[in-house]
Amino acid sequence: MTEALVSVRDLRVLFRTGERTVHAVNGVDLSLAQGEVLGLLGESGSGKSVTLRALLRLLPPKRTTISGTISVAGNDVVAMDEAAARDYRGGVVSMIFQEPMLAFDPVFTIGEQIAEAVVRHENVDRAAGRARALEMLDRVRIPSPKRRLDAYPHEMSGGMRQRAMIALALACKPKLLLADEPTTALDATVQIQILLLLRELQREMGMGVIFVTHDMGVAVEVSDRIAVMYAGRIVESGAVRDVIRNPSHPYTRGLLSSTVHGSMRGKRLEAIPGAPPNLATAPTDCAFAPRCKWVADACRAGVPDLAPVAPGHVAACVRLGAAARA
């Protein structure tokens, strides 16, 4: 592995709202090489979007406590001041959002919004910003990009808006792209187009991508590596093939067996019983234990560490062998 583009060590995020506290992320370690695509997989509330926002420092500072270190392309994300953060966001790292309708300001045209970001980061005039916007719209294969430049977000379809969103995110040639379930709000046919486009642009521009999703199929489609999150921790990570062929954490196995694939007609989907834990306090043992088929006393002893399953493939389960044998 070449020098890491992203390196996250023991990231913890704590939200405090009034009397409630939520331990959203509880010790995440993450690394990503230049040009690599990491699929961050997990159900709602597993802390995957929070991790992503922490990487951009987009979390509301008043209510959030972040600890641990985040380093992206040499920037210390946790310690940097607001001015440095502004250069960092959009310049080094940018983000694609889940809902392309909501991610554009309805009162400005697509072109204006892309140009605005370019002008901000590259100290060029509006004409140059507009030219870049046109180039980007062309690159994300929006038909008749010249006309689309002056279109308002409501005048475009969902897939087109997501393409425009990608154009906006990539306009300043970031080194790292964060994608927060960018295809969840789209039709299945549009979904695959967007995924292919992202993959292609990623190869062309050689950037790192962290792709958050709850869809196993999507993660497999775009990623080089997969990290599975549960209750604010990474419970398993490894190359896509290793994780899919040899899921070692019971949660990953549960996720895989609860997805639809061929030759399943007439059979009931296997679901994971129970619900994700309440994160009012940080977990002190294996957070998945209450829902786990193979639970044992050892699971309650403490938070399991990530242990190697195979080279480059780790899982956080004290009974690594048990699940595999079952």
Binding site: L56, L58, K62, E82, A83, R86, D87, Y88, R89, G90, G91, S94, M95, F97, Q98, E99, L102, A103, F104, D105, P106, V107, F108, T109, E116, A117, R120, H121, P143, S144, R147, D150, A151, Y152, H154, E155, M156, S157, M165, L168, A169, A171, C172
Partner: protein, 297 residues
């Protein structure tokens, strides 16, 4: 819900035609609204008459005559009659528009600027700042607007300048409230996060994205306040707290003519009719603007 099909049609025809701007669409919908256009025409007429008063008014608005007092409507040379000092009513109504419109619109403009600023800051910063600003504003909001205007004007003394100040204070709270509520909604939308994710600072976000989205609804709301402002201003003048005689102003004219209500009721009602006409036109136009811009206040 005329906006939704229109937007649909636009989406479908978009590849064939160049995209039309938001304001072009608003203008088109507004022009199609006949009632709004009639109101606009009346308002423009009154405003133009007020601006060019010296050229079109038939008489001197200050010179009266004891022999010609309280002539009825339709008197030769005095089409709208004369007032209690024998001054031409038509002339005074035309000149009166100058002050009445001025003290109707200026306080709302002032309050629009100040109230929007307060509301946006309160809504965007949130927390304790929001608490401090909005609760202070609630204190003012708790008074009936007429009472508040009279109290402030009474404390500051009569005069045009003071009544503008008092009316500005009256209109800041409602405008700030609207601005605050819209800002709070906008602040939590994804595009604010998206703008931040692409490197915009708080100032840029407020200036571009928050104001861009807040201005519309607040502006529409402010236009509906102009009629209230005119009525309040006329009320202040009527009570002797606003414009001083012999200045022509509709509220004041209403006051001085009230003694003549039994001898010349129609003449005495004319200034009131003007206030009514202008404020209803403003209200109807503001309603039309609201539906054309498709904003919810």
């Amino acid at each position: 819900m005329t906006a939704a099909p229109a937007a649909n049609a636009q989406t479908q025809t978009a590849p064939a035609t160049a995209s039309r701007g938001y304001w072009a669409g608003v203008g088109r919908r507004l022009v199609r609204n006949r009632l709004a256009m009639v109101c606009l025409a009346i308002l423009v007429l009154i405003v133009l008459a007020a601006i060019f008063a010296p050229y079109i008014a038939p008489h001197d608005p200050y010179r009266g005559s004891m022999i010609r007092r309280l002539r009825p409507i339709g008197t030769d040379g005095y089409p709208l009659g004369t007032d209690e000092l024998g001054r031409d009513m038509l002339t005074r109504l035309i000149y009166g528009g100058r002050l009445s419109l001025f003290i109707g619109i200026v306080p709302v403009l002032n309050a629009f600027v100040i109230g929007t600023a307060l509301g946006v800051v309160a809504g965007f910063v949130g927390g304790k700042v929001n608490m401090a600003i909005m609760r202070t504003i609630d204190v003012f909001y708790a008074f009936p607007s007429v009472l508040l205007a009279i109290a402030i004007s009474g404390a500051l003394g009569a005069g045009i300048f003071n009544s503008i100040i008092s009316l500005t204070v009256v209109f800041i709270p409602p405008i700030a409230r609207v601005a605050e509520s819209v800002t709070t909604q906008v602040r939590n939308l994804d595009f604010v996060d998206a703008a931040r994710a692409s490197g915009a600072g708080s100032f840029t976000i407020i200036r571009v994205h928050v104001l861009g989205n807040v201005m519309g609804p607040v502006f529409v709301y402010a236009t509906s306040l102009v009629s209230v402002s005119m009525i309040l201003a006329a009320g202040l003048s009527f009570l002797g707290l606003g414009v001083k005689p012999p200045e022509p102003e509709w509220g004041l004219m209403l006051n001085t003519l009230r003694t003549a209500i039994y001898s010349q009721p129609y003449v005495a009602a004319l200034p009131g009719a003007m206030i009514f006409a202008v404020s209803i036109c403003f209200n109807l136009f503001s309603d039309a603007l609201r539906s054309a811009m498709d904003v919810k206040v």
